[in-house]
Amino acid sequence: MSNQPYCSNQKNQSVAQLYIDHQSWLYKWLNNKLSCSYQAADFAQDTFMRLLNFNGINNIKEPRAFLTTTASRIIIDDARRKKLEKNYLERYYYYHGEQACAPSEEDLLAISQSLTIIVNMLDALPVKCQQAFLMCRFDGMCHTDIAAQLGVSNSMIKKYMAKTMLHCYQLVHKDELFNLLNKRL
């Protein structure tokens, strides 16, 4: 009947318009860059998927520049994810033995995606904050033990943890804050 996708709200409509206008161009650009049509199609799709969660969509001045930047980021993230996945598998076999059942493709993808998100979240923090957080959250250590291991005071550990939590909060709820500000302004 029509090739207009079904749109639930105005934001999705903008993404749809972008898709109609630029999808084939983006696909060509990616194909040219990666010289692999399957990958190009996947990354093009991921780029528009990511736009669905982007709030500033109506303010985009140069759509094609914006799309290529987003696509480039996705490619970088994907490379990082693959590297993480490889490292994860190496360690997995190291701990469970070569004969262990491999995690399913689905599980592996889910894990490597989560790990990428976590690494990206913690990346900008100082080393001490990262260490304290990993020890507390993953190793289940109490603050006193962490303080002893890192050679700082107990209250410093509290500071590191609070800094990490606030940093993660800002990353997770950035869009929310953006919305809040937009509403008030």
Partner: protein, 334 residues
């Protein structure tokens, strides 16, 4: 205004929630803390903010395995190594830049980039293409910038003596870091002594201007002269801001640039030592307060400072301490 207050309030709330979350997950919550927390949690909006942190905390639960944890710390370490490499490269660049700056501020550095320089103890005579003759003291450097309508010599360091060839269309200007000396046809010397430059005129007239003269506007009150005319036998000191009134050259003080000797008659020792410093490749620390009353007469070679200092210290109650070939200090003998 209201918006600002509201967002500020949100901010305070978020910080408080983060602090509480940290305390409650410290692995060692006291009874007092948990009682206080449950009171805080019941207050308006607090629960909502706190639960957001719980949500973040829970996101880590599915990957809470040893393998995942090691993979994460490995990736974080790799990223840090990358940024550390970037930082190392950046600090190398800064270090190189800084050393270049330090190098160019030393005499060798200045001389390295200059057109003519003298490093050894001998006197150098340079003939310029307008038939002017420049004699350079040891450890001096000049740049020569001649064009069709100007003759400009930059004294980068040290001392020069010049016999200027007449050229009515092109006045000759010698500049140091402090000021300029302008002459039509004359014989004079100029020395960069660090804090000021000294000009001594032997023939004809020279106009000496402080560097700042160019920048000072006419409507400003003229509290001091920025330019002075010097006649033969006169000397003057110029700093960046002003020119000293011309004085009759001290008869007890004469630098023979050709023989490289300093001839002094009853002059303060400190002044003699200052002059020696100019010709010494290195740093001499002079204890002025203890040496200020000593006066000296004699002929001192300027091309062998070590020998000259040995001669002075043999006849006067002073002590020369050598710390290395480039650093010495001079003090009164106790």
């Amino acid at each position: 205004m209201k918006n600002q207050n509201e967002s500020q309030h949100d901010n305070v709330l978020i910080h408080a929630a983060a602090q509480w979350h940290v305390v409650m997950h410290s692995g060692e919550v006291t009874l007092a803390e948990s009682t206080e927390f449950s009171l805080w949690y019941k207050q308006a909006n607090n629960a909502e903010a706190y639960d957001k942190f719980t949500g973040i905390w829970e996101q880590f639960e599915p990957v809470k395995t040893k393998t995942a944890r090691l993979t994460i710390s490995q990736a974080l370490k790799d990223n840090k190594t990358f940024t550390n490499t970037t930082k190392a490269v950046a600090s190398c660049c800064i270090f190189l830049g800084f050393s270049t700056y330090l190098f160019t501020s030393t005499f060798v550095g200045k001389a390295y980039f200059a057109d003519h320089y003298t490093l050894s103890n001998e006197l150098t005579t340079i003939s310029l293409n307008d038939n002017s003759q420049v004699k350079l003291s040891p450890f001096s450097a000049i740049n020569i910038m001649y064009s069709e309508n100007s003759r400009h010599i930059e004294l980068v360091a040290g001392r020069l003596m010049i016999d200027v060839a007449k050229d009515a269309n092109r006045p000759l200007i010698i500049s140091s870091q402090h000021g300029t000396a302008r002459a039509l046809g004359t014989q004079f010397s100029m020395a960069d002594l660090g804090d000021y430059s000294e000009i001594r005129v032997y023939e004809s007239k020279v106009e000496v201007c402080a560097l700042a003269n160019k920048n000072i506007k006419n409507n400003q009150p003229n509290t001091y002269q920025q330019c002075q005319q010097l006649s033969p036998g006169q000397t003057s000191k110029v700093t960046r801001e002003s020119v000293e009134k011309p004085q009759t050259a001290n008869n007890g003080w004469h630098i023979n640039i050709i023989n490289q000797t300093l001839v002094v008659d009853d002059q303060p020792l400190v002044n003699v030592l200052d002059e020696l410093t100019v010709h010494y490749f290195g740093y001499i620390k002079i204890n002025r307060s203890t040496l200020q009353n000593i006066r000296v007469s004699g002929v001192f070679p300027l091309n062998d400072i070590d020998h000259t200092l040995a001669v002075i210290s043999a006849s006067l109650p002073i002590k020369v301490n050598r710390y290395s070939s480039f650093f010495m200090s001079i003090d009164i003998k106790k």
